[in-house]
């Protein structure tokens, strides 16, 4: 299967998302460190959807044109008001560590955020093989 979705509605779905991402990563041939990075990034993105947006969809898929893996989370939460700030280490509106989004950016090769205040957020993060 080259795409797996997990609807993140409860806290235990975060671990499920991370598990699926790790599985897909190792099946695609990522090294164990890279798979660990991907699993952690998945965990961060899914956790954000759960904590900041009250739930949303998590997807991990295999990329074929250029071999790699993509994580996508999408939600209909409050959106991110200031994306630049959200990408700074230590910035959190929820009393968290604030290292999640900047961390994902470093753990993966590419990340883009599409967010409209009041509409929701879509975050895509890719890693190439």
């Amino acid at each position: 299967m080259n795409k797996i979705s997990v609807y993140v509605a409860a806290e235990f779905n975060i671990a499920e998302a991370a598990r699926q991402a790790k599985l897909m990563a190792s099946v695609l041939g990522f090294s164990s460190v890279q798979s660990y990075y991907i699993a952690t990034a998945a965990s961060e993105l899914a956790a954000n959807v759960f904590i900041h947006a009250d739930g949303g969809m998590f997807e991990v898929s295999a990329l074929t044109d250029r071999p790699g893996l993509e994580l996508v989370v999408s939600d209909h939460g409050p959106g991110i008001a200031d994306i630049e700030k959200a990408l700074q280490d230590g910035y959190s509106t929820a009393g968290g560590l604030g290292c999640g989004l900047p961390g994902v950016q470093r753990l993966m090769d590419e990340m883009d955020i599409d967010s409209q205040p009041g509409q929701g957020t879509v975050v895509r993060a890719r890693k190439w093989l």
Binding site: A15, T40, G96, C99, G103
Partner: protein, 291 residues
């Protein structure tokens, strides 16, 4: 029509002993084989009797064309719920539990077909009513079954959480907290509470936190562990963290996370040596068979 068009069903249900015995034979044939030791035959017959009595009442009080309905709070609903909650607790399969109502439906249908084969209109009406009522009963039974199962599972996972967060006294004043599995909010709270209690109880001056069994070390796990460490240090215990894998260490670096005031060792073994040193002890060779 002022007479009850479902009178044949009532008549049938009044031959309670016969119906019950046929029905129970059918049910027991399967259950005795699948769940020997879990089936109390006397109780089962008593329950069947009570259920048939209520069914007869339902059909006799009924008049009109639409089939009677069973409220969730009616006596019948109550019996159904009790029955299947009991099955769920004993670990019956859902299909075998459903079989209970289906078997009754079969028995009633057969009897109705043989007594009313001369009057097809009445037969149709009665069959439809039996179908409707017993289908509803099936649903109620099933709902109660699932509800009970969910409660059982929730309880099991709670006790699993407790089981999976032991705090071990390794040596005088040295505690070990082995973290295994996903650290979510509930578990984090629970293990912090337990650790703090134990630190006080054993006057622990060193606590080993072993994270070998944590599958993904993300910022939320790190955050939970930091809070635990802060509280432990407030109670005067030093922290030695062990078991961060090479992958985990590199990931934490990428996330920009470091644990302040914490001694970290790659393995539990190295951590234990460190901890003993902190309390002024060490493990020495006594010249035994192993070098």
């Amino acid at each position: 029509m002022t007479t009850n068009s479902l009178a044949p069903i009532v008549t049938l249900l009044q031959q309670r002993a016969a119906i019950s015995s046929e029905w129970m034979n059918e049910v027991l044939r399967v259950w005795m084989r699948m769940y020997p030791g879990l089936v109390n035959e006397d109780e089962l017959r008593r329950q069947a009797d009570a259920l048939l009595k209520e069914l007869a009442k339902l059909f006799s009080e009924h008049s009109g064309e639409t089939p009677p309905d069973i409220g969730a709070n009616s006596a019948l609903g109550e019996i159904a719920r009790e029955l299947s909650a009991d099955r769920a607790k004993k670990g019956f399969k859902p299909a075998d539990t459903a079989q209970y109502v289906i078997a009754l439906k079969n028995v009633l249908t057969q009897h109705l077909v043989s007594t009313l084969n001369e009057t097809p209109a009445s037969l149709t009406l009665c069959l439809r009513a039996v179908d409707g009522v017993l289908d509803r009963l099936s649903l109620l039974t099933f709902e109660a079954f699932v509800e009970t199962r969910e409660r059982v599972i929730a309880q099991q996972s709670l006790s699993l959480v407790e089981l999976s967060t032991p705090v071990i006294l390794l040596w005088n004043n040295v505690l070990l907290l082995p973290l295994i599995g996903v650290i979510d909010t509930v578990r984090a709270r629970q293990l912090t509470e337990r650790l703090l209690e134990s630190i006080t109880k054993y006057e622990a001056s060193v606590t080993l936190i072993d994270v070998t069994g944590v599958p993904v070390f993300d910022t939320s796990v790190a955050w939970h562990i930091m809070k635990t460490i802060d509280a432990a240090q407030l109670l005067g215990s030093r922290i030695v963290m062990t078991g961060i894998s090479p992958e985990g260490a590199q990931t934490l670096t990428k996330l920009g996370i470091s644990f302040a005031n914490v001694i970290s060792r790659a393995t539990l073994r190295a951590g234990l040596a460190e901890a003993l040193q902190l309390v002024g002890r060490r493990i020495e060779s006594t010249g035994g068979v192993h070098k």
